[in-house]
Amino acid sequence: MIREMLSSTPVMLGLTVGVYLLAVWMRTRSKIMLLNPMLISVPVIVAFLLLFDIPAQHYIQCNSMISFMLGPSVVALGLTMYEQRNTIREYLLPILSAVVVGSTVGVASVYLLCRWFRLDEVFLLALEPKSVTVPIAMEVAKGIGGNTAITAISVALCGIFGGIFGPLILKLLHIKNPIAVGAAMGSASHGIGTARAIELGALEGAVSGLCIALMGVATAVLVPLFNTVIVAPHL
């Protein structure tokens, strides 16, 4: 009976919102930026689901309302882009070249690293489109015969990793230019990177959001091409 109560849709939705609010509150309270809301929320929800033996698919289904909001929030980035239209016009050339270089490095590094670590081709095909936002990455993976579930999680992990450590890595690499920071965050860590970039500043957020879209287009073209020419003959 308790399990039935706990696995009802309002409770599942409330779990997401409640844990997220708690995570945001914890970060605001402690003032530690490294306490990413994602990093705190995910283990708490995983623990809750395992503890009460609630299937992950049930939780995901109950929360489809929240997941659906990803679409409108990507559309809303159009306004963020518009608000930075002058900067984007001014730096269009650096940003476009970054996207071309970034998507190429993204695909090539995955290929070389998978070889180096002797990973199964399942991982290679699923990881190739990882430098894009989740929905694009999954479509691209499907096209080249990759496992879309692994792709989705890899992209989420890239986002979490970049969202948490991105600003630190960029500081270590001496990348300070807000446009470079935004481009790096959006290109490498998509939505979560952009969420973090928006926290760093409006300009960083705008460039980051712009890069998600441009990386999506670049990778959607590049991955199938790279896969047919370089990867497929060696499998």
């Binding site: 689901l49 409108p72 559309v75 159009g78 070249s97 989420a156 690499l173 979560i192 999506g216």
Partner: protein, 124 residues
């Protein structure tokens, strides 16, 4: 009312983007097409920014929560991942650092080049 109008406009652009995406054979996801359409509509002054500001800022400012449910799929895949999780995580981390460095340095280099050219007065 302001919120409903704002959300309605954004949903309309999402719907239009989704339709165009189907037309293009799902080459680019609908939300990304919708984002481009919204940007164009704002630039050409078809949509006034103040109409959607409230809703759009709420959506972009809280993007993280919209990702959380999808990430929970990790529970079901644990069996597959357990076997080569270290290499898998290694590829994710190293490749992400590679992409960050590549894009960051490219932008830095290109804007330095652009500044130098503008200083010389040699604008194209």
């Amino acid at each position: 009312m302001e919120v409903i109008i704002g959300f309605g406009i954004i949903m309309a652009f999402l719907a239009a983007g989704e339709c165009l995406s189907v037309f293009m054979g799902h080459f680019v996801p609908g939300s990304v097409v919708g984002m481009m359409l919204l940007f164009i509509a704002l630039t050409t002054k078809v949509i006034k920014p103040h109409r959607i500001e409230k809703v759009a800022h709420f959506l972009t400012g809280n993007m993280t929560i919209f990702f959380i449910p999808a990430v929970m799929g990790i529970i079901d895949l644990w069996g597959v991942i357990k076997m080569s999780w270290l290499g898998w995580l290694g590829v994710i981390v190293l490749s992400t650092v590679c992409v960050m460095a590549a894009t960051g340095y490219t932008v830095g280099g290109m804007s330095a080049l652009q500044h130098r050219r503008e200083k010389k007065g040699g604008r194209r």
